[in-house]
Each structure stands twice: as C-alpha cells, then as structure tokens.
Assembly symmetry: C2
Homo-oligomer: 133 residues x 2
DNA sequence: CTGCATCCTACTCGATACTG
DNA sequence: CAGTATCGAGTAGGATGCAG
C-alpha cells in the first residue's frame, strides 16, 4: 500500500483527526491501552473486525507513530503491540470524548458497555485490557 | 437524505467518533465556535470545501445535535449557525487534540496556522471567528 | 445568498479463502 | 499465530451547474 500523502494541514485539530479518525482506530488504541497485546487479543476484543482491516489499521497506526509492533522469532509467531508515548497521551483525551458522548448522548450507549469503558474515564489501569472481556 | 442508522455502539468513544470524525466536521465546529456565523463565513473560512459538502456536513451536525441552524425570512436569505451546549463542550476537547498533535507532530503543522488556532487551546474567544482571516 | 441536483472518484471497510 | 490475496460494497468527498 502506498502511504497516503498527509496534509497540508491548516489546523492542529485536522492533523489529530487525520491520524485517529475512522471506524476502528480509536477503539484499537483503547484496546491496546496500557498493556502489550497480541494481534489475536485485539481481534477477539473487536470481535467483528476482519483480519484484513485490523492489519491495515495497525499498519497505519504504526506508520503514524501511535503504536509499536514487536515481532518475536518464535514458532508459532508472536507479535505484540503497545502504545508509543504519543499514543499513551491520547488515552485521557479519548476518555474525555467518551465522557462527552456519555453526557450528551446517553441513549446511544449500552449500559453494559459503559461499565467496561469506565477505567478510561477514571484513569484506572486495571489489567483487563479490553472492555468486553 | 435518509438518516444513517446509528450504532449499535460498544463504547462511548465510538459514539463520539461517529459524530465528529471525518475530514471537515471538526473544522466546521471550530469555525463556528463561540459565535453565530453564516454559511458564507464558513465557506470562506474553509476555502477549499465545496458547497455541496459543506451543506451535507452542516445537516449532519445539526441532526446530531451539535449545531443549530437559524433561518431568517429576509431577502436575500440569511442563515446563521451556532453551537449547541454539546457542541460548545466539545471545543476544549478539540483543543486538547490540537495541543496533542502540536506536541507530537510539530512538523505537520504550518507555523502560520498554529497562531490562528491558538485561541482554541487557551480558551480565548476573540471575535475573529476563523483562524485564517 | 444559501444552498440542492446530478454525476463522479477515491477511499474505507468488509467476507472469504489462503499462507509463512 | 499473524497475517496476506482477492474481490467487492458502501460511503465520504468532490466538480459543476442550477434554483428559491
């Protein structure tokens, strides 16, 4: 895949949205969050994502400097992803966005999901890395 | 235009991104910001947007409850847009995203633009409603 | 002035099967 | 396990012209 030409941008907000907007990217970032997670973990977390799309989004996030891919020379293959500092600093902002949506569009948010996402709004970093485990 | 079916969502963050992601929506929200602005003002602010797309995005933002459209019975037609409370509450979050992008991707951000966007990061609400005036 | 109608392109997203 | 190949659908975004 040829890397899409970025910019020129007219506003920092435009830059941010070009990096993290889309159906899956923000969810993938939340899914990785504070841990090192494997491809299959993310796949299980976002159950309806296709492997093709997940792979594509991970590559895009990696090339944008939001996540790091680490491959170990083991059989079977083991690959882990974790957030860069930029990615980590994004987490509280995503939390703010989630709080904002919860406040103004509560009808859109299933109750069972709210609880699982709560740690992103409180800053807690418990070890269940995915909200629907 | 038939209203697109929303959800079901699994996370508040997903809701937020469904409402504000895309090439133009965040910029339009910033463009409106704290004032009542007219269609032609937004058009001038986002010089490269086509009228069709601007109209489409404004409708989407209105149906999502982020902006309010007010039409006056004048000739020539006068229409003003302003943010709802939900839209206003989004501004500081967009500011955080802008600051985040400025911190980690400074190369992507033209210097001349930074200054014009600054008020969104400091909370200033001066009366030049658009950053490239 | 403020859009809408039409036609079009390009990119995002996806289902399924298959591979190192 | 961690992806890639292939084919394809849907949608965001765009150019141009026209209307109330």
């Amino acid at each position: 895949m040829a890397v899409k030409e970025k910019g020129p941008y007219r506003c920092p907000v435009e830059v941010a949205f070009d990096f993290i907007s889309g159906k899956w990217k923000s969810l993938i970032i939340l899914c990785i969050a504070y841990d090192k997670v494997r491809y299959s973990d993310i796949k299980a977390c976002l159950s309806t994502i296709s492997p093709h799309i997940l792979s594509h989004q991970l590559k895009s996030l990696e090339s944008d400097g939001l996540i790091v891919r680490t491959q170990y020379g083991e059989i079977p293959l083991r690959v882990e992803y974790h957030l860069t500092e930029a990615g980590l600093k994004l987490l509280p902002i995503l939390g703010s966005l989630g709080s904002w949506a919860s406040a103004y569009y509560p009808d859109q948010i299933p109750h069972s999901t709210l609880q699982n996402c709560r740690r992103f709004f409180s800053g807690d970093s418990s070890d269940d890395f995915c909200w629907n485990h």
